[in-house]
């Protein structure tokens, strides 16, 4: 799941939990999933330093990224 998809899912979860007719059990399940997704999203944001590379293509068409 990309970060974008994760955020979209989180928004959907929040919206579902805001609905009046959501059963409590389902709200709890959604909340659990939401917490897991939040962790994923936060992990992406605290990810290691982004790399700056240069794309190099070998003669045989294989790509390589070099610092």
């Amino acid at each position: 799941m990309t970060f974008e998809q994760t955020l979209a899912r989180l928004e959907a979860i929040a919206a579902a939990m805001d609905r009046d007719d959501v059963p409590l059990e389902e709200a709890l399940t959604l909340f659990e999933e939401g917490i897991a997704r939040l962790r994923e999203a936060s992990a992406v944001l605290t990810d290691a330093e982004g790399k700056v590379r240069t794309l190099v293509e070998a003669v045989d068409g294989v790509f390589e990224e070099r610092a």
């Binding site: 989180l10 929040a14 959501v22 999203a41 982004g50 790399k51 794309l55 293509e57 790509f63």
Partner: protein
């Protein structure tokens, strides 16, 4: 020996003299700018251009060889006022003067504008510049590819902006020549690599500011088509805010500068963190609301239940009271209320017959409102006043 051509004996061949003339002309008039009007323009199938340059007082046949045609943005229109740079020479085979043009510019932006407008109209007609074709940029790219020169200001600016906004985003340079004759092919090749490599979420294609000629590769048809065909969204960032190129029109987004392109491509990390935190807050609030609603519902049910229970008890109690009332009505004790008393021995037994009493012994009289301690004085056979008249 006399000098060549000085006598019949030393006569020159025609071609020989024409050759000398050609050499003399080229040496005397090399690389000159000439101003004139274009007439009789012809594009030959071998790629050369032929036309005449003329003004009120003169006319000169001109040629642009195919290898030089490539550097001229568009063919001139008939009657157009142009500046042509070239070398005066001679077409020896025909015995004609020939001005060999290697650069051609119209007054003002003429030829450049014409080339630009022609290509723009063509791509528009094909729908390549349509708004409907523009793809949305990914909101949260993890990997940004940059097609530009590795030595240019654009690459430096993009790196600085991306680092400042979001240090976690990967940046990959796909180096390309961005000006000069080699630039279009180099840009097309870099775009092709980007497409085949496929690891980036979004691409920035561009370069820093420069003259119109410096930026011209971004008005190249092949470059424009490669940008349009790119499988991932492309931001074009060529020169300064006022520079518009064909690449800008086919790209998914035109950024005024490379720095602005980096800003469009990459979100600010701190803002993302806030957004994620806000979502977390919404989740927590949502759950709390739901739980509180559950608790309210539960309380309401409990209260309802308690109320019913109380009613049930009260109904029972009412029935008990009713029954108690009836029982009381039937109770022998109730008789006491009507003026009778019960005699009870000290051992608690009810004394209901004459034989139960012994003179001198104590007993209790139970009355509706209390008890009287009494003592037997005398025992008679019958209470005369209760005896039924004979």
């Amino acid at each position: 020996m006399t000098a060549p051509g000085a006598s019949i004996e030393s006569a020159l061949g025609v071609g020989e003299l024409a050759g000398y003339a050609k050499e003399a002309l080229e040496a005397a008039f090399p690389g000159l700018w000439v101003k004139g009007e274009v007439s009789n323009f012809k594009r030959h199938s071998n790629g050369h251009w032929y036309f005449s340059l003329k003004d009120a007082s003169g006319q000169l046949p001109a040629v642009v060889w195919a290898r030089d045609v490539r550097r001229i943005p568009a063919p001139p229109d008939e009657g157009m006022s142009v500046f042509a740079r070239g070398t005066l020479s001679m077409w020896t085979g025909q015995g004609k003067l020939q001005f060999m043009v290697d650069a051609l510019e119209a007054e003002g932006a003429g030829l450049w504008q014409k080339a630009f407008d022609t290509l723009k109209a063509k791509l528009e007609a094909e729908g390549l510049t349509a708004a409907a074709r523009k793809r949305r940029l990914p909101r949260f790219p993890r990997h940004v590819a940059v097609i530009t020169s590795g030595d240019g200001a654009a690459w430096r600016d993009i790196q600085a902006v991306v680092r400042r906004r979001h240090p976690g985003v990967h940046l990959t340079l796909i180096p390309a020549v961005v000006q000069g004759d080699l630039a279009p092919a180099s840009l097309v090749q870099a775009l092709d690599r980007l497409a085949r490599w496929g690891s980036a979420d979004v691409a920035i294609v561009g370069r820093g500011g420069g003259s119109r000629e410096d930026l011209w590769a971004f008005n190249d048809e092949a470059v424009a088509r490669a940008v349009a065909a790119c499988p991932i969204p492309v931001i074009s960032a060529v020169g300064h805010e006022t520079d518009f190129t064909i690449t800008d029109f086919v790209a998914d987004l035109r950024a005024p500068t490379p720095s602005a392109a980096a800003e469009s491509a990459v979100p600010v990390l701190a803002e993302l963190r806030l957004a994620v935190r806000a979502l977390g807050g919404r989740l927590a609030d949502g759950l709390e609301d739901r739980v509180q609603r559950g608790a309210r519902e539960l309380r309401a049910r409990r209260d309802g239940l308690a109320l019913r229970a109380r009613r049930v008890v009260e109904r029972r109690r009412a029935r008990v009271a009713q029954v108690a009332g009836r029982l009381e009505a039937l109770s022998p004790l109730a008789v006491l209320g009507r003026g009778f008393a019960v005699a009870r021995g000290t051992d608690g037994r009810t004394l209901s017959r004459r034989a139960d009493f012994t003179p001198g012994t104590p007993f209790d009289l139970l009355l509706p409102d209390g008890r009287v301690q009494a003592r037997t004085e005398r025992v008679d056979a019958e209470a005369p006043h209760l005896r039924t008249p004979a």
